[in-house]
Amino acid sequence: MSTLIIKDLHVSVSTDEGMKEILRGVDLTINSGETHAIMGPNGSGKSTLAYSIAGHPKYTITSGSVTLDGQDVLDMTVDERAKAGLFLAMQYPVEVPGVSVSNFLRTAVTAIRGEAPKIRTWVGEVKEAMTALHMDPEFSERSVNEGFSGGEKKRHEILQMELLKPKIAILDETDSGLDVDALRTVSEGVNRVKENQDLGIMLITHYTRILRYINPDFVHVFAGGKIVEEGGPELAAKLEESGYAEYLPA
């Protein structure tokens, strides 16, 4: 059982006009096995929340705390956060030319597990995970994210999540740019990992579409850099109906 606790988190970015506050006091607790949908309009700060927790250097934490099972996440380097059990599935996964998917996955798993996986079981493990995500085996010889379609990039993110076995995963707009088939495949992957690994999930999305495949336990409406309303799955249904207009400044 793991718990991610975000308390009164304030985050700024530096712009040409000086520091600009994006997150204005976020409070959120995610336990193993729970799925929390973070929904909100564009520009509300959802991605900033995701990247701040993962430790992107662009964001400055001005106050508040983030802990995972009592450990101070904000005090960790980016790779230490991953080793502690956090995973961020990115909206725009980065291309790394010349580094093959297989080399990348092996290096990452070795770093997270603290030892190189045994070749024989590892090959099988990867193959099984790739098959489940409908990924071609030749995929592993391609350069990381280079020339991948939108759907391939997202499947590759979920593949990593499955192999790295995090405690808490943040899925940032994982549904964006996916057609219905890819959305279903990716969602099934997320549900499978959640089931098998008792994963806690922060699911960031603009649309309710993905919630037909991944059932949230909690829905949080995000606007103006903080959570402005919370509820159960019924809140998503309401958003589907009326959109975010009432949460936006008049």
Binding site: V78, D79, A82, M90, V94, P97, G98, F104, A111
Partner: protein, 360 residues
């Protein structure tokens, strides 16, 4: 007869051809302030059947091409013996022919080499430059019709070496020339990989990799002259720089003369700056005198290390240093993988790791 060694032709640094080169660090190669020895410091690790290695006089092995480079002219004046490697007609030589240069502790040297690739022969020649040296060098390579030659030079010099060289290929009808210039060592290395064609249907692929750290000036001046119709050229050089005083220069001159209809050419140079202060000059230059060509293009980019790549890899648990190593190995992988000589690929990748270690 060349007047190369007379003082008034000594470059001043204002000439286009020398404006990037640190003349004061050339150990006298360019201004005849030191005497050059006429010596053959290359030796073969073994010469396979189908190949022949001989020393000829400069009368027996006259120059095959024109040059206006002052140091090369001087090399021609000084070197009266020429190392000639001949690949026999139709020879199929699978294993690379290694030529190792041993100049350690010797006086500055003028070196002339000729490689004759016979018609329809297949071979790979690897020249390894290691240790410490002051070297003026010309390697002329002639490909007879249908020949296929892969030509690899490794500049793995010690930090105080000075090396000025010209690798000139003459590519015959339907012949294929592929060169790999790997430059990681030396104080000043200035290499002129140049190509001309002597028959149609010929092609030249020029690949290069360089990694400069502090106190290194690594310069590659490519020149491809398309005068013959229906010839092809591809140039792809990649470099990384780390350290305040690391310098690299890449010049890519491609000329398509009016007679060279059907030319197909593309050249590319990418530089990765790993630290502040490092400087990479990249000057692609394409001159086209006929519109009747298949294609002609060039691209040049010089950029900093991409922090988003670093973040992505780190967010998967990979420590910063290892992530950096992965990205840089990946950057060079495209060139290294083309070598298709596994022992060399590993050797170069390991050397890149060492360079990174030293650059920290």
């Amino acid at each position: 007869m060349s007047l190369a060694t007379t003082n008034y032709l000594t470059p001043t640094g204002r000439e286009e051809a020398w404006r990037f080169t640190p003349l004061s660090r050339l150990a006298g190669l360019h201004d005849s302030s030191v005497e050059l020895a006429d010596r053959i410091s290359l030796s073969a690790r073994g010469v396979p059947a189908g190949a022949r290695l001989e020393i000829k006089s400069s009368e027996e092995a006259p120059s095959l091409s024109a040059t206006d480079d002052i140091v090369i002219e001087r090399v021609r004046d000084v070197a009266h013996q020429v190392l000639v490697l001949t690949i026999e007609k139709n020879a199929e030589i699978g294993e690379p022919i290694f030529l190792l240069r041993k100049s350690e502790g010797q006086a500055p040297e003028a070196s002339r080499v000729q490689i004759q690739a016979g018609a329809h022969s297949h071979a790979t020649v690897v020249i390894e430059n290691v240790g410490s040296a002051v070297l003026g060098e010309e390697i002329e390579i002639n490909l007879e019709p249908g020949a296929n030659l892969r030509f690899v030079t490794l500049q793995e010099w010690d930090n105080n070496a000075v090396h000025i060289g010209r690798h000139h290929a003459i590519v015959g009808k339907d012949a294929t020339f592929t060169s790999y210039v790997i430059t990681v060592g030396g104080s000043v290395v200035r290499i002129l990989p140049t190509v001309e064609y002597s028959g149609p249907g010929s092609s030249a692929d020029l690949y290069g990799l360089y990694f400069a750290t502090d106190n290194q000036h690594l310069e590659h001046r490519i020149h491809v002259e398309h005068k013959i119709p229906n010839a092809k050229s591809r140039v792809n050089y990649k470099g990384a720089l780390s350290g305040q005083s690391a310098r690299t220069v890449w010049i890519g001159d491609v000329f398509i003369k009016a007679t060279a209809e059907g030319t197909d050419t593309y050249e590319l140079n990418r530089n990765l700056l790993l630290s502040d202060g490092a400087r990479a000059d990249s000057v692609p230059n394409l001159e086209i005198e006929t519109g009747e060509i298949v294609g002609a293009g060039h691209a040049s980019t010089t950029g900093r290390f991409d922090d988003e790549q670093l973040f992505y890899l780190q967010s998967r648990g990979i420590p910063a240093e290892e992530a950096r190593r992965l990205v840089i190995r990946g950057f060079f992988a495209e060139i290294v993988a083309k070598l298709k000589i596994q022992s060399l690929e590993e050797r170069i990748m390991n050397r890149i790791d060492t360079e990174l270690e030293e650059a920290k």
